[in-house]
Structure formats: structure tokens, C-alpha cells
């Protein structure tokens, strides 16, 4: 029997494939049976209603995309009334992604969303910390630790910290999140980028800049996932540019205990189903019986000792 399960803290997922926040919604149930997934991860919500960023909110770059959706949100109450009940029809655990502009608001939202039907909370600490200088919480170890401590005190549910690539301190931030009580790290959110329409001379996004996601982003996020897996004990959930089953395997080998698939679902909506099937065939073809045999199996030998904390490109 093939064992596709993976362990994220106290949660056992029936397979390591799940959607990334903001690239998934109830609508995808029209494409395939959502119970095929290891978990369901919602778009980030805020307590208050928000309308999000001006359009255009996405643009294409060579083989990938930028987005500046912002966090349009129907608010906490609408979410509890409409969204949580929808996912109760499924066995897969529901992971709710939340965000706020200050550590205290973050913690109070975290407390209020800790309700039956929610299996874990993904805290999108890659969003700007408005109280301080507007830099995302997850850009610095100190702000990461501060917000994570408050979040940890606000809930008994598992806490997944979603990191940002917009930092030179990936491993320090990862350790700070672990230290402050995160149960898992999601690595990572999108990378700040920009595109300009040379005909109109206007930025291609209404918001001027946006986050890079998709295949172009993979080598960066994979590097971060590897660095994090080497520097913390808690599980790492890899996220960034995963489009094929080979990408899933690459992240698992690098040390990720599970993966999140984002942009690829836009291009190929049933892709996660194919990845679950592909993972099964891959294990079979390799004579492996469990996904766990794959996780962290990278052959990095001595190289890893000296270099894992390397942050400058060589």
C-alpha cells in the first residue's frame, strides 16, 4: 500500500498537495472533487470588509505573472456564515488564511476565527505591518517573533506562518517564527516585482508593483524552502512556481513536508488532481512506499554545512 499521508504538526494530511491562498475558492468544486486535496486553504481574509487594489490586478511576464489583488475581503462575519459551512461538506481539513495591519488586530482576528470547522490558521505575515514602517512582519526576525507570539497566545489551533521572499534574512525569520510557536512554515508568498507597458508608459498593475508567482519564481522559493527546512524543526510547506509533479517532487526532496500550488491552477485548473495521481505513480516507479521517504532526501552532503546560511548569490 502506498502511503501518501504527510504530517504537519498534529494534522495528518491524506496527501501533501494543497492549494495556495488566493488561488483557490469554492468555485474550483465545479472542476473536480475538492476532497482529492490534502487540505483546503482559503484566500486571506481580514476582519473588516475591503475592496482590494485598483485594476489591472494581474499582468503577464515572461512565463509567469504578477498580481496586486490586494486583500479584498467580505469580512469575518460573511466568511463565518458563507465559507466555513461550505467546506464542512468535505473531509479535507480547512486552513483559514488571515491578515491584519497590526499585531494586536492580527491576534484578535486569530482568536475570533478559531471556530469549529477550522483545522488550522495560516497567518499571512507577508502583509505590510502598518503600525511600523509598512514593511511586512515577515521581513524581519524581530517583527516576526513579536506578531507570532501574540498569535500563539490567541489560539489553540495549529498556526502556519506564511513567509515572504522580500527579505535577506530567510533563515533568521524562519527560526524566529518557530521560536515564537509556529507549527509550520509556508514558504513562500510572492516576490515584489514590476512591469511597465512601454506603449502607455504606465505600470502594468494598477498598484504599480505586485508579486511575482508562477514558474519563474520556483528556483527562488525552492531555495527558501530548502534553507528553512535545514534551519527549523517544524514542517515546511513549499510554495512557489509548482506546476508539474516533478516540481512537487523537487520540493519534497528539498525538505518540504507538503506543497501548495498557486498560479498553476489558473493555467491548468485540474492540475492538483494530476499531481496527486502523479505522486502515486512516481513512488511506485521508484519502489518507495511512503511520501515520507522522499521528504528531505536531497543529497547535499558536506556542501550544506557551509552554505545553507548563504544569503548572497555566489
Amino acid at each position: 500500500m502506498l502511503d501518501l499521508t504527510t504530517q504537519i504538526g498534529t494534522l495528518t494530511l491524506k496527501n501533501p498537495i494543497m492549494p495556495a491562498s488566493g488561488t483557490f475558492s469554492e468555485d474550483l468544486a465545479q472542476v473536480f472533487d475538492l476532497d482529492i486535496l490534502g487540505a483546503h486553504v482559503t484566500k486571506t481574509i481580514t476582519r473588516e470588509k475591503r475592496s482590494g487594489n485598483p485594476t489591472p490586478r494581474v499582468c503577464e511576464v515572461r512565463g509567469s505573472m504578477l498580481n496586486s489583488i490586494g486583500i479584498p475581503s467580505k469580512g469575518l462575519d460573511a466568511f463565518k456564515t458563507n465559507v466555513i459551512p461550505f467546506y464542512k461538506n468535505y473531509d479535507a481539513p480547512l486552513i483559514v488564511s488571515i491578515s491584519a495591519g497590526s499585531a494586536d488586530e492580527f491576534a484578535s482576528l486569530c482568536e475570533d476565527i478559531s471556530v469549529p470547522g477550522v483545522a488550522a490558521i495560516e497567518v499571512n505575515i507577508s502583509c505590510p505591518n502598518i503600525e511600523e514602517d509598512g514593511k511586512a512582519f515577515a521581513m524581519r526576525p524581530s517583527t516576526t517573533e513579536a506578531v507570532m507570539r501574540k498569535l500563539r497566545n490567541a489560539t489553540d489551533l495549529p498556526l502556519w506562518a506564511k513567509l515572504t521572499p522580500n527579505t535577506g534574512e530567510t533563515t533568521e525569520v524562519a527560526k524566529a517564527a518557530e521560536e515564537a510557536g509556529a507549527d509550520a512554515l509556508v514558504v513562500s508568498n510572492t516576490l515584489l516585482a514590476m512591469a511597465i507597458d512601454i506603449n502607455t508608459k504606465r505600470p502594468k498593475l494598477g498598484n504599480l508593483m505586485g508579486g511575482l508567482s508562477g514558474p519563474a519564481f520556483k528556483p527562488i522559493a525552492l531555495r527558501m524552502a530548502y534553507q528553512c527546512a535545514k534551519s527549523v524543526e517544524i514542517p515546511v510547506i513549499g510554495c512557489g512556481g509548482i506546476s508539474t509533479i516533478e516540481d512537487v517532487i523537487e520540493y519534497l526532496i528539498a525538505g518540504a513536508s507538503a506543497v501548495q500550488v498557486g498560479t498553476a491552477t489558473f493555467i491548468n485548473p485540474p492540475i492538483m488532481v494530476k499531481m496527486v495521481e502523479g505522486l502515486e505513480s512516481y513512488l511506485q516507479s521508484q519502489g518507495l512506499h511512503s511520501v515520507k521517504q522522499l521528504i528531505g532526501s536531497v543529497v547535499d552532503q558536506e556542501a550544506s554545512d557551509g552554505l545553507v546560511f548563504m544569503e548572497a548569490a555566489p
Binding site: 488566493g22 488561488t23 465545479q30 472542476v31 489591472p56 490586478r57 494581474v58 515572461r62 479584498p72 493555467i267
Partner: protein, 267 residues
């Protein structure tokens, strides 16, 4: 639950220019994706080559769907990288489509006299409405506006379906808003209009909103917005609408692409 959305590989039957600006793409398609409504669209995966490398899918209205012969038609204009890539497809090639998507046009039981006002490639979106009108035995008048006769698409198609066609062109100087307005007033005075349909153009939207308010005629408009997912997940395709005195954002791919005429806001 809503109908399933399918991602399937179709085969190209043909992909030929219709006139200088538009091309007709005819696909051999499985019947499961041909249970469509006029106004719905598909999200198309463009081919990649040395010179053209579009990444996101491209939304395209259904120009025709024929479950009996297993065909799906699109009428498109080559405007950028994605549509240029689609234009390179040849008979026999595979082509990946996602759909049908979105909410189509309504034809309520008491809407007997229908008016359709279209400009340019907008006809692609409105064409299936003509077919449906005939199926439901409604009377349809189509005002079709374009730069010149050469760009007046589908007129024969509309006529074949029993529609009355009123062609207007910039070239002939007949396409002004004023002229369109008086033609529509004429139609209303003559045999009346129960519902109006349009898409795209701002000028036409404003005109129909005015006429609709004055004569209390309901209407619908198909709108466009850039899309990533096409099925409601990413929230990139929102547009603002006037609803009960407030501004609300709706997803064009999911709550649309067809919206209430009076709620729509031009851009």
C-alpha cells in the same frame, strides 16, 4: 450545484481569417462542453513557440456552439501575443479550452421583441443570442456598427436566423450615437422593444442606459476585464457596478460576463 467546468483538448477544424481583422476558429469539441448559454465564454490556453510565449489563458466569448455536429466556434481579433499565438493554430492541432464559463444572457418569457446593438468584435459575443432567440421564437433586431462595410461581421448569419439587421458604418456616417438613438426610438415607437442587449462600447452603453431609463426597458451587457483564472478564484477580473446606490465590485468571470445594463459602469 453549478454545472461542471471542463478542461479539455479539442482539435482544430479550421482557423481562417474572416476579413482583415477577424478570424474564425472552429473546434471539434466533446458534447460535454457544448451545453452552453449565449454570453458564456471559454478560457483558452495559447500555444507557445520561439517567438510567442503567452502564459495566462485568454478569455473568448462563444461565437457558436453546436452540440449536434460537435463544434465550438470563436470569432476573434488578433490584438497581442495570445491572440497572435492562437492565430498560428492549424487544422488538426490540439487546443486546450476551459469552460463553459460565466453567466450568459437572459431571455425572460415575456421578452418578445429583442434588440441587439453591437460594434466590432462585440458581435462575436452577441451572435449566439440570435440563435437562441430563434429557438425561443422571439423577434430580434440587430443594429450592427463598424468602421466600414468590410468589418460588418455576421450580418448574413443574423439574417439567416430571421433577425432584422440594421448595418451602420463610420464610413457611411451612419454610426453616430445620434443616428443610433433615433433608429432605436423609431423601433420603440414602431413595434416596441422588450429587452436590449449589448457589449463593450462605452458610447453604446450610455445610449442604451438613457433609452432604457426613459422607456423603462430592461437590458443586459457583456463586459470584458483581464482574467487570470476565469473561474472565480483570483479576483483579478472585478469591475465596479452601481447597485442600490452603492458601488459594488463583481467578478466578470463569475457574476458576469453578462450584467444588468443599468448597473454597469463604463470605463
Amino acid at each position: 450545484m453549478a454545472k461542471p467546468i471542463h478542461e479539455v483538448e479539442c482539435t482544430i477544424i479550421s482557423n481562417e481569417p474572416v476579413n482583415g481583422e477577424y478570424r474564425l476558429l472552429v473546434l471539434n469539441a466533446p458534447s460535454k462542453i457544448l451545453d452552453c448559454e449565449p454570453g458564456q465564454f471559454f478560457h483558452l490556453l495559447c500555444p507557445v513557440s520561439d517567438t510567442l510565449q503567452p502564459y495566462l489563458r485568454r478569455p473568448m466569448s462563444i461565437y457558436g456552439y453546436y452540440p449536434d455536429k460537435g463544434e465550438l466556434h470563436f470569432l476573434y481579433k488578433v490584438t497581442g501575443e495570445g491572440t497572435s499565438a492562437i492565430a498560428t493554430l492549424k487544422a488538426g492541432d490540439n487546443f486546450n479550452v476551459l469552460g463553459p464559463l460565466g453567466r450568459g444572457f437572459d431571455i425572460l418569457p415575456n421578452w418578445q421583441n429583442l434588440l441587439l446593438v453591437a460594434r466590432g468584435v462585440g458581435l462575436a459575443t452577441l451572435a449566439p443570442l440570435a440563435l437562441e432567440a430563434r429557438r425561443l421564437n422571439r423577434k430580434l433586431t440587430a443594429i450592427c456598427s463598424a468602421r466600414s462595410d468590410q468589418f460588418l461581421l455576421s450580418l448574413d448569419y443574423f439574417r439567416e436566423l430571421g433577425a432584422t439587421v440594421i448595418p451602420l458604418t463610420d464610413e457611411a456616417g451612419t454610426s453616430s450615437v445620434e443616428n443610433m438613438h433615433s433608429i432605436i426610438e423609431g423601433l420603440i415607437a414602431d413595434e416596441g422593444i422588450d429587452a436590449m442587449y449589448t457589449c463593450g462600447s462605452n458610447r453604446i452603453l450610455k445610449l442604451l442606459q438613457t433609452v432604457g431609463k426613459e422607456h423603462n426597458i430592461p437590458g443586459q451587457i457583456a463586459l470584458e476585464q483581464q482574467m487570470a483564472c476565469g473561474i472565480g478564484m483570483c479576483q483579478c477580473c472585478v469591475r465596479a457596478f452601481n447597485r442600490n446606490g452603492a458601488i459594488v465590485n463583481e467578478r466578470v468571470c463569475r457574476e458576469g460576463p453578462v450584467f444588468d445594463l443599468q448597473e454597469a459602469i463604463g470605463c
